[in-house]
Symmetry: C2
């Protein structure tokens, strides 16, 4: 059991909620809070010159970028691993995580921006981005061979990334009034069902819902 780490961030952010889910899985105690004075305050920019969340404090150590934080925590508190020890499984876990991050979350951010701050060529941006998003979802559907979870029967980092991407995807669907973006992708849909059955996932989903209510 670890001492308590501080996570600067808000649970609604996909970068933050994947980390919170990872901490829950690893039974790492955390406090989650937004930096006093905001992300661009002098104080916070001293901690993270990018002014981004999540940023963590573990004792004296300050770390940012969600992927880097998760690798760090998994090495420092290795009892329950998010990244398996076997090189091949670890590579599969990291690869699926990277696909969710680089081809799904990135595209969802663009759609999210169009929902809250539409540009003059909104229609074209949304249509181009949906094409890319669908390409990414197809690639994941083709690449993955999930059993209960993304890689085998054990919950891993790839499931934390899938969680953050799929939660965000449902949010963006709602905001833009889109039909089910997952379509007929059976493997992803089955995986999403399995992930949502986990107690720690239900807890994070509850926290996200409560956070949005108070927005």
């Amino acid at each position: 059991m670890s001492k308590t780490i501080t996570i600067y961030g808000a649970i609604s952010s996909p970068y933050v909620n994947r980390l919170v889910l990872g901490c829950k899985r690893k039974k790492i105690n955390y406090e989650l809070l937004m930096p006093e004075g905001g992300l661009k305050s002098k104080e916070f920019l001293k901690i993270n010159p990018l002014g981004k969340i999540p940023t963590i404090k573990d004792g004296n150590k300050i770390i940012f970028e969600s992927g880097v934080i998760l690798e760090y925590l998994d090495n420092k508190y290795p009892k329950t691993r998010l990244i398996p020890k076997s090189i091949n499984s670890a590579t599969e876990v990291r690869l699926i995580s990277a696909m969710w991050e680089n081809y799904i979350v990135t595209m969802l951010i663009r759609l999210f921006v169009q929902a809250i701050n539409p540009s003059s060529d909104r229609k074209k941006v949304i249509s181009d981005t949906l094409d890319k998003l669908n390409g990414g979802l197809d690639a994941i559907e083709q690449y993955m061979t999930p059993q209960t979870f993304s890689v085998g029967k054990t919950f891993s980092l790839a499931d934390c990334y899938a969680f953050s991407a799929l939660t965000f995807l449902e949010r963006v669907e709602q905001m833009l009034g889109l039909e089910s973006l997952l379509g007929k992708r059976k493997k992803i849909k089955k995986l999403w069902k399995s992930i949502k059955k986990e107690k720690i996932v239900k807890e994070v989903l509850y926290d996200i819902k409560e956070f949005r209510k108070n927005q």
Copy 2:
């Protein structure tokens, strides 16, 4: 010494040349080639459903996403490490790598696109992107405490990422006719000088130059 791995890709890509540099550092034998029939051919999409480079073949294993490949190679061939064994140094190396990737290369790609395929709001895109790029460079300059290399005196993954970003930055400067984007950032400039002194770096720079001549 490893058997020869196949890297699908072109040396001019920052995602590819960081990997090639990592292989040289680790003395991993590689052959670098573009997939026959191109990135979106049926054959290549079976290997990588995203149709992206770099993609590697190491025996039967196929891996893509440069960061994932580099983690894999560093674990599989650990003799010369790109990511140090100590958790704290490894975290610093991964964090600086992530900053180059997420805040520099991403912005350079946007500028590169404006150079080869300008949009109607080109001026605004370039100016907004330069602001973000400068923010990223400032953050790296503030965060890093390089000695000879990005982290301490040993060449690491962070130097592979710095190399790919800074080579690309110089290319984009040329293409858009921009002044020195590094400005007065002393730490980055000194680091770039040290990196360029390495024999393996000179070799990759030579390969990039030859590749561009033949374009």
